[in-house]
């Protein structure tokens, strides 16, 4: 199946969790948040939330700014 991860189409295996996508992105341990299809996925639900086919995932962190 395919999903959009931070604007790029990625081939993911069926049942891939949000936690697995975060790891795939090489995101830092702390200071990261995830939105799936336009809604925040709380960290506590990363392991149990699976990315659906055609899902849109955004993995964000804090950078210098403002």
């Amino acid at each position: 199946m395919r999903a959009q991860v931070n604007g790029t189409t990625r081939e993911l295996t069926e049942g891939t969790s949000v936690a697995a996508v975060v790891e795939l992105m090489g995101a830092p341990e702390k200071g990261v948040a995830v939105a799936l299809d336009g809604a925040v996925v709380p960290r506590a639900l990363w392991d149990t939330t699976t990315v659906p086919d055609g899902g849109v995932v955004e993995v964000l962190t804090a950078v210098q700014g403002g």
Binding site: N6, G7, T8, M25, G26, A27, P28, K30, G31, V32, A33, V34, A35, G38, A39, V40, P42, R43, E58, V59, L60, T61, A62, V63, Q64, G65, G66
Partner: protein, 251 residues
């Protein structure tokens, strides 16, 4: 003199809020932050793979500076609300500097989207610090929906044009019951001092320090300017006169 800045019940000794954008590297940023004396500093939220620079959170934690996530880059209320919710999740703070700009050329706030986002975020439990136009009516409306501060611009972001409409800033500070933070447009120390003299409770700046030739020294200048302007405001300036008035006794 004990004169803390209080925003939403949190006390700050420093009245200078800084941004972290524009610094050449983290070491320059660190020296500037320390010299500024700031206790509250903004960060932006970006995609992990496009982040480029990392380590800013660790730096702020090490320096004991509170993080204020912003919604920079958002053009609509919906985008800003989602970005604020992501920042709350990532950084474990319900404080947000709300920015909803209309276009890239001016980076001026979109008042309609801004007010809508402010209202939604307040209802969602956020402490909202909105970056707004120097419009006394909009400032009042932002306060009415429950914002913790109002943060009018002096001039557009990054221009260093100073405070273009001091009278509007004074209109805002004269009737606000939340702290007014002059946000954007500061070019040099006198601009920061003027903001405080006009009754602002604090100044938020980034570019003026991070892109100065010597960021650390400019940060120290801003710290002094904010303190000086605050003292002058509290001291009460003399009225302006048309004709001279001798300060020495007559012969």
């Amino acid at each position: 003199m004990d004169d803390p800045l209080i925003i939403a019940g949190r006390e700050f000794r420093s009245r200078l809020v800084t941004g972290t954008g524009g610094a050449a590297n983290l070491s320059v940023l660190e020296r500037a932050l320390v010299a500024s004396g700031t206790e509250l500093t903004t960060v932006a939220m970006r995609r992990v793979d496009a982040a480029g620079q990392t380590g800013v959170l660790e730096l702020l934690r090490r320096l004991g500076i509170d993080v204020l996530p912003n919604t920079a880059g958002c053009r609509t209320s919906a985008e800003a609300v989602l970005t604020a919710q992501l920042a709350r999740e990532a950084l474990e703070t319900n404080w947000v500097k709300l920015e909803v700009v209309h276009d890239e050329e001016t980076l001026l706030p979109d008042p309609v989207e801004l007010l809508d986002a402010a209202e939604r975020l307040v209802l969602d439990g956020f402490v909202v610090l909105p970056y707004t136009n120097d419009d006394p009516v909009l400032a009042r409306k932002l306060e009415d929906v429950g914002c913790a501060t109002v943060m009018p611009l002096g001039s557009p972001i990054g221009t260093g044009l100073g405070i273009r409409n001091p009278h509007n800033i004074e209109l805002i500070t004269s009737r606000a019951s939340v702290p007014v933070v002059l946000d954007a447009g500061i070019g040099t120390a006198s601009d920061a001092a003027l903001a405080m003299e006009l009754g602002c409770s604090a100044v938020l700046l980034a570019t003026a320090v991070t892109r100065a030739q010597d960021p650390e020294r400019m940060a120290a200048a801003m710290r002094c300017a904010v303190e000086g302007g605050r003292l002058a405001r509290l001291a009460g300036r003399i009225p302006q006169r048309f004709w001279a008035q001798a300060s020495s006794p007559g012969l």
